[in-house]
Symmetry: C2
Subunit: 205 residues, 2 copies
Amino acid sequence: MTEPAKRRRGPGRPRQDEAEEGPGTQELIRLAARSEFAARGYDKTSVRGVAKAAGVDPALVHHYFGSKDDLFAAAVEASLEPALVIPDLLGADPDGIGERLARYFLGVWEDPLTRTPLLAVLRSALTHEAAAAVLRRLVLRRLLERVAADLDVPDPTFRAELAASHMVGIAVLRYVVQVEPLASADPEAIIRLVAPTLQRYLTEE
Amino acid sequence: MTEPAKRRRGPGRPRQDEAEEGPGTQELIRLAARSEFAARGYDKTSVRGVAKAAGVDPALVHHYFGSKDDLFAAAVEASLEPALVIPDLLGADPDGIGERLARYFLGVWEDPLTRTPLLAVLRSALTHEAAAAVLRRLVLRRLLERVAADLDVPDPTFRAELAASHMVGIAVLRYVVQVEPLASADPEAIIRLVAPTLQRYLTEE
């Protein structure tokens, strides 16, 4: 990542006008956090490194995001942004929920631009309890509760989690372990078999 | 792990009679490899460390298992041993395949003794390409092909992988990320919903 040097300031607290640069700077830090965690993993990413990548003073990162774990939560949120449209996907025609969800999920994972940060989140959560806690408490809960609110089944959050588990497992075997023939399978072949499963979990008693 | 000191020898090549101790020593090294990789992860485990844990000379480990990756493959095989009965599970009454598989899988993951090494394999595969390659080439392929050979569906290996993906995803969300309510759900509630999915993948066109 190249460093936009002209944005850098000297050490110390951010100047008042800098802290008031508003959502532009905050967004810049958030995207830098996503890139840094994706490229280096949870262990090797630091507040200082993210500040450097964003071209801002570390104090400004602390000001907006607090600790490293808060910064990781922001990075996870940025990485899961594609998932935020899922509640809208579910809201429409109930008969097609399973297929829309399967198609959308595979689309997000097929695109390296969205896949890379998601993979980083998955890796971090599997290897660091702090990262797993962030995923569990902040992001997944919020997303799953929004999805569950729209479902008309018993135990909707549990159902949403079972659907999510299938998609997470497909991501692990297809994109990480890359076991054949799943790794090279036509996305449509996966959608055809998985859509009825998701449909059943999300709509049938 | 305590070290059975009386088994230790000085450095150098194993004595002939030692190399001929046979399956007992080999099994000891394999179990030590499983424990070491489970406790330390792929990165921090060494041939020397496994030798020490097994109370044998490193040369003996090289003699039986070759490189670190070969040793990892042996550890993965030892960790996946519970999975080797799966083909037998599938062979019996076809109507109950989904339920038997879901129940068996959850049983293996509910038991910390079998869960810990499986978690280590999952973590290693997600963070080290060499570990993923071992899982992909040696173990998963062999297991999946045995399962697929017994299935009477189109693309049986693909079907077996979809079933496996669902179970891997449940393991990730229930035992690693520990997202609620899935993490605390009664295994029977999971089996009730997941069994028909596995049944469909493994037996229906």
